[in-house]
Symmetry: C2
Subunit: 389 residues, 2 copies
């Protein structure tokens, strides 16, 4: 198995991009990554594309071929593969790209993700997103994602005394980080009161506890580690790529405050990278709702179970804290184009490890982690990246 590195990254603005189509945003991110990597089009070997629901959002499947074609690569006949695992589609596209390079099947691979969510009405969007849950056991009963995560939050509050203020502090932190990210959908500060006074979506989650509906695309260029320095002085090495499944429905889990796909993927990733949670300098985690970030930092082993809310209020996960979480602004403030998110996380880690993250730069971090979740935890994917091989 060959070692693998990221040699280039690209990302569109995240937001309501009504003047751009799916194919345009994907190719914008991809070309940006290819230019960043100093790769020529003819050197590209394969594309992997994360997308959750092109069928519902833009009435288009066969997205691999679409993108290869629109990017002008059809003449090269490069293999182009769409990968889907709901909101973890991006993370899985990244992982398939890594495996493809590790295998020797391909050398220079672009792994990207994109979602165009604002071309349909919000009811269609909500129903399309509900397809990430178990339609037969959850969707047809009327469960939508705010409702599912609200149940997780309720139990977390009951078991561990987590408060609405603690939940809100996740949103406040991530909005603060977003003010320093020029690509973020929301670049404004908010306060605890902003969250608590905002409209209730599903008790206890207010609208400011929820990540937004977003258009956006992101991409990375992956290469064998042995040739990475041919393209860049600052390759970022993939130290681990791990994926795990859990039950698709909440009702089948022993404890819904723990996403056991996350704990399983994290365990594999730490083993593969030969590190512990203490070695991780910072992370991009899947904060689709504020409660999700609290569960994530617990399930990834950064804090003890039940202490995620308290740790957030105390600043442990802030930019200057012991382990900064979601320096990009996370799904909450940077935005959550579902198929793009998992790749955008790797873009942020790469920028941070290179020292290219501008005002939100974390000093001295050498190892970063990404954590991308599909649905309410049916899929989790964890990657660990390092400045050193």
């Amino acid at each position: 198995m060959r070692d693998v590195a990221i040699i280039g990254v690209g990302c569109t603005e995240f937001g309501e991009l009504w003047d751009k189509s799916f194919r345009e945003i994907f190719v914008e991110a991809g070309i940006s990554a290819i230019e960043d990597a100093n790769v020529q089009g003819g050197e590209l070997d394969a594309l992997y594309i994360g997308n959750m629901s092109g069928g519902r959002f833009i009435e288009q499947e066969h997205l691999g071929a679409l993108i290869a074609d629109y990017a002008g690569l059809a003449g090269l006949h490069i293999p182009s593969t769409r990968v889907e695992a709901a909101c973890a589609s991006g993370g899985l596209a990244l992982r398939q790209g890594i495996i493809a390079v590790a295998s020797g099947y391909h050398d220079i691979v672009v792994a990207g993700g994109a979602e165009k969510m604002t071309d349909v009405d919000v009811e269609t969007t909500t129903d399309a997103l509900a397809a990430a849950a178990d339609r037969e056991w959850e969707g047809v009963m009327g469960a939508t994602f705010p409702g599912l995560y609200a149940m997780i939050a309720k139990l977390h509050m009951h078991k561990y005394g987590t408060t609405q203020e603690q939940l809100a502090s996740v949103a406040v932190k991530n909005h603060h980080n977003g003010t320093m990210n020029p690509k973020a959908q929301f670049q404004n500060e908010i306060s605890i009161e902003t969250v608590l006074n905002s409209v209730m979506v599903a008790d206890p989650l207010h609208v400011f506890d929820c990540s937004p509906i977003t258009d956006g695309a992101s991409a990375v260029v992956i290469a064998p580690a042995d040739i990475a320095k041919k393209y860049t002085d600052t390759p970022v090495y993939v130290k681990a790529s791990a994926q795990a499944s859990g039950t698709l429905s909440l009702h089948d889990r022993p404890d819904i405050t723990t996403i056991d796909a996350t704990t399983a993927a994290a365990k594999r990733a730490y083993k593969m990278a030969r590190v512990t949670p203490d070695d991780i300098g910072f992370a991009e985690v899947h904060d689709c709702f504020t409660i999700a970030e609290i569960c994530a930092i617990e399930d990834l082993g950064f804090v003890k179970k039940g202490e995620g809310g308290k740790a957030t209020v105390e600043g442990l996960t802030a930019l200057g804290g012991k382990i900064p979480i979601n320096p990009s602004g996370g799904l909450k403030a940077c935005g959550h184009p579902v198929g793009a998110t998992g790749v955008k996380q790797a873009v942020e880690i790469t920028m941070q490890l290179r020292g290219d993250a501008g005002k939100r730069q974390i000093d001295g971090a050498a190892i970063g982690l990404t954590h991308n979740v599909g649905g309410s935890g049916g899929t989790a994917v964890v990657h660990i990246f390092g400045r050193e091989r």
Copy 2:
């Protein structure tokens, strides 16, 4: 890169399976393959799932997690990944499974495909299938797949003198093969007259020139070649796995009678397997329409360009011919559950190479090829399998 083998296969009946759900048919095929491989559940490392449009057909995405869960594998937290490339989704799932084993990331992998197409009305099915073409350039203009392939057929007839009788002879042959396949959707003989007297769908394609709408699932178990004989006396070795993209729309191709993604993927596959078309004993090719089989046997190099129709009439591609094509009955008679087809082709090749194909057994063939196409040729994937490593 490790060599890879197929150690088990499984397939549901193909047809209108109104009494079974998507999850049921996938798990039925998967368990059948796992039992065939003598693998224990705990040995499984990963799942790859080919599916074109769960979002439109069953309002369900996140199919990897769904299947891992319904198969009772959520507790093992195995990675489970859905792959999509329209009608080539199955072939790509197979290819990702092969790459995952070749890389060393995983050892025992199930690659399967499934589509449940009959739970929605036929207008929805037709529109969902049109999402395999370019929605902005073809779909919104009213183009559906019979129309696109009819244009290919018209030009092929114009350039090469191909006749409606020659097209029909593909259907007659594949229906004949289907009579010997107990899993096939259609197991009845038809005649040239049956085809020519059937209703016209898109001139010159009659309904009997078209593959049907089908429910079905298929699966294979993949393992490193070095340990394959631990599980079976008759492993089937993967000699090549190649994939290529072409333009998504017909109008961008230099010659629509050639699917250049097929020629590119075939060239790569022959090189990887170190064989020529003459070395291939038999093949399962993508006959979504009769014209598609004629183009395929030309583009794969089995006959000269323009001679596919004539060769079919002369029996070259019949079961007793020089190179039997679609012994399973192909998409035309066995049926075409779009996400399952690419995997079902590998199931057929495996059964033939093992000598397990019953009445349709091809004597003495040592090397078989599969050819799976997405849309009108935006994606093509070619695999070559052998009895010997």
